[in-house]
């Protein structure tokens, strides 16, 4: 393991100190916690809290600030934060109009955020939540844990953040969250695995010329291993899979996120973007109304990328995506 760190078990603590010091005009670390909260005048709006295991930087602390999250609760690397920490995040986010939790669909995250909700309600804070499950690599079924929450969560942060900033109520945010979640579809691939510093070795092995389709953001293996292909073939695999799940018609409007997994240069992300464009715009005749390319939801040092589509079934979502924010990573 080759990493610029000190003791592996100090990584999250030191990272949060580094981040909150560097961007102290936007965020602060709540003392004695792993919560990054925004510096912002409270004014009776709905607070938004997200979080999860660390290792997805700039998620989630990088999206804390005006127009996006009120607080991010950062667990150990790839490990859900605990309810007491989430409770601190909820308290920091509370402006009196209720707090909304953006949870990615992992058993650990769901259980810990649920317990935190219970604790918060004991302190008379109204809490509601969405469980984001955009990863179509995993088969969905009511008999299983269902789809994972991955990079699409960042669009959820942005849209809900903008709505909250505009003064939406907790119920309105909940409804919006459900609607967005239904139109959110992601899929990823890896060229190399991630190495959790506390584990010290890669989460899986890939041959020199192998890639893995359908990986998660914690080094979970995916659905198929293959020889490396040109970018346009990778794009084709993704678009085919997404079309099957999302369904669309010529003229539909989409928001799109090409997301690097942490060790993939922007050069490759933009080449891939160009191939995606050819498929979605030139061939499928879709309208890409909003696009982001870059590292938004990473898996530490994994090389690879994911593609997220949001079907813009509501015109206002585009305004929410475009509205101004003051955060580190958007």
């Amino acid at each position: 393991m080759k990493k610029i760190i000190n003791q592996p078990d100090q990584v999250v603590d030191q990272m949060l100190d580094g981040l909150s010091f560097a961007y102290d005009s936007i965020v602060m670390r709540l003392p004695q916690t792993t919560v990054i909260a925004r510096k912002y005048q409270k004014n009776g709006k709905v607070g938004l809290v997200s979080g999860g295991g660390s290792g997805h930087e700039p998620s989630h602390a990088g999206f804390v600030g005006r127009g996006m999250l009120s607080a991010a609760v950062c667990g150990q690397v790839f490990t859900s934060p605990t309810p007491d920490q989430i409770l601190e995040g909820i308290k920091a986010a509370d402006e009196g109009a209720g707090v909304f939790l953006i949870i990615k669909n992992y058993t650990g995250d769901v259980l810990n955020f649920e317990m935190a909700k219970d604790l918060a309600e004991l302190e008379d804070i109204t809490v509601d939540f969405i469980v984001v499950d955009d990863d179509i690599a995993v088969e969905d079924s009511t008999f299983t844990t269902g789809r994972r929450g991955v990079a699409g969560t960042v669009f959820m942060h942005k849209i809900l953040g903008s709505a909250a900033e505009a003064g939406a109520s907790l119920e309105e945010i909940k409804r919006l969250a459900n609607q967005v979640n239904e139109q959110l579809f992601s899929i990823g691939l890896a060229l190399s695995p991630a190495t959790n510093p506390e584990v010290g070795k890669p989460g899986f092995e890939l041959g020199d010329k192998e890639i893995e389709f359908g990986i998660g953001i914690h080094g979970e293996p995916g659905y198929r291993r293959e020889a490396l292909q040109p970018s346009h073939e990778l794009a084709e695999e993704f678009v085919t899979k997404l079309k099957k799940e999302a369904g669309w018609q010529a003229g539909d409007r989409l928001a799109l996120l090409v997301n690097g997994m942490g060790a993939t240069p922007l050069m490759e992300q933009f080449v891939f973007m160009n191939d995606v464009k050819q498929l979605l715009v030139d061939q499928e005749q879709l309208e890409l109304s909003f696009i982001k390319v870059g590292d938004y939801m990473t898996a530490i040092d994994m090389a690879g990328l994911s593609l997220t589509l949001l079907k813009l079934t509501d015109e206002r979502w585009l305004d929410h995506l475009n509205s101004a924010v003051d955060v580190i990573g958007w």
Partner: protein, 195 residues
Amino acid sequence: MATIEQWLEALLHFCEEIPQHKDQLNQLDSAIGDGDHGSNMTRGVQAVKDKLDTSSYSELTDLFKDIGMTLVSKVGGASGPLYGSAFISMAKTATESSDPTALMAAGLEGIKKRGRAEPGEKTMIDVWQPLVDKLHAGQLTQEAVSEAFQNTKEMKASKGRASYLGDRSIGHLDPGAQSSAYLFDCLMKAGVLNE
């Protein structure tokens, strides 16, 4: 009926066993999860040990509550709320009963409720459920513990991270089942649960 000293001895032993098997638990979790179950549990039991070393208990309910809260706030991941819920549920039952079987049954219920899971889904429940059944029948044995744990191998996961693998989860032992097996072992060694 087990004394509080026996419970303490068993649980302190558990706090030593887990760190010794940290790598093994991480490895089991690497195969079908994210490789951190040993690290998560170790972080938790070390905090539990600190807590137990600096506290004294006359009531089981207080002991279980402290353990449950400590696990909830230190482990994280899926296993933190699950083990935490087990002990918090045991703490509630301990206000009425000190019967080990009733207490372990309460623990199992805590896990099932929190995890919304049933036996056969390749989780720690697949150790807890058959062993609580054995306890009720007065038939708990060392072999029953390892048998329950081994049975998770051929199961297909439908809860937790392993469920993402679908059929590919078959053939691997469940890490949470292994840590639970250690718990039952410790409870038997200290005589809290009897063969």
